[in-house]
Symmetry: C2
Subunit: 162 residues, 2 copies
DNA sequence: CGAAATTCGTATCAGATGTTACTATTATCT
DNA sequence: AGATAATAGTAACATCTGATACGAATTTCG
């Protein structure tokens, strides 16, 4: 029988010869995923960051507000995967630039209700088509079947982790 | 004819009635991907962070060193997707704990050559099986075909972005 | 050869981020 | 009701991170 390690690279073989297991970072799924997510994040950030000076957190809050005319601050976290401090800072940033307004909930004065200002809504209308176009451009690299498969598998993985 | 927006949710319909396009963050691919990557990153960080007090950057450098007995610092960045400052700090952190050693390149004293110490190699041998097991556990949620498809599609997307 | 430019790695400082603790308000429990 | 606990949001502090600039070593080019 042939010696072991025939199908592996030299480094792997060397590691195994030393009695160890080895890990190829380039083929390690968590690393691949982190790298891809970083690339995509950078590509998308061009849309909201460079042209509109929004942070990623502010952009997420803005996206949520586009669908919900009014929303309690405490609801934003779960919807955007931001912690409450990140939400607080993002909303403050948006408010300081006149993109959102805040008021107290009438029945619970601890809560703040956030909504887009007219300027905020105008910004939203400008930015969303660009963001959607960027998404389309990214996914153009794939066939429709591949996009569907990716979507399904990512959902499955995400659900398994939750 | 029915009015438009029949197949959409109320929020979408409301946005469209206002003449705007809308974006559902939960279904926006870049957000889904970022969220999944974050979940996976946290799951994997349990392995190296909690038990061995390594940062993500240090873990990546360690992973590279497991395959390359010696490596120039300047090569680490491209292999790990870290910038030179992150590499510098990660290597310093590893050195301060006796996990790696450094020496000058004999023919170019600007460069530093990094290698695992015996303690570093022992750590590597302990940690890699755990990291691989964690990867397997994550991917258990998928069928073999799904894993293959995911790998292929991620590679395709990543290549298109590079 | 010797000045200028380039490369490698790091110090330094500014800004971003996470953690803890606090204030204000409301809910709960006796 | 009144004390106690819980919740929403933020301030304050410590830490992490990124950008710039620098010193040391080497290379390039006049």
């Amino acid at each position: 029988m042939g010696r072991s390690g025939v199908a592996r690279g030299n480094a792997a073989e060397a590691a195994i010869a030393q009695g160890g297991v080895e890990l190829d970072l380039q083929r390690y799924f968590p690393y691949q995923l982190a790298r891809l997510a970083e690339q995509v994040s950078l590509a998308v950030a061009e849309v909201y960051s460079e042209r509109f000076a929004l942070t990623r957190q502010e952009w997420r809050v803005l996206a949520i507000l586009g669908m919900r005319p009014e929303i309690a601050t405490k609801e934003i976290g779960p919807l955007t995967t931001l912690d409450k401090m990140q939400v607080s800072r993002a909303v403050q940033g948006l408010e300081s630039r006149g993109i959102v307004g805040r008021k107290h909930h009438p029945d619970d004065r601890r809560e703040l209700i956030v909504s887009l200002t007219p300027a905020g809504r105008a910004l939203y209308r400008k930015i969303v088509p660009l963001a959607l176009a960027r998404e389309s451009k990214l996914l153009e690299a794939l066939t429709a079947d591949e996009v569907a498969a990716l979507d399904r598998v990512m959902g499955k993985l995400s659900a398994a982790l939750a």
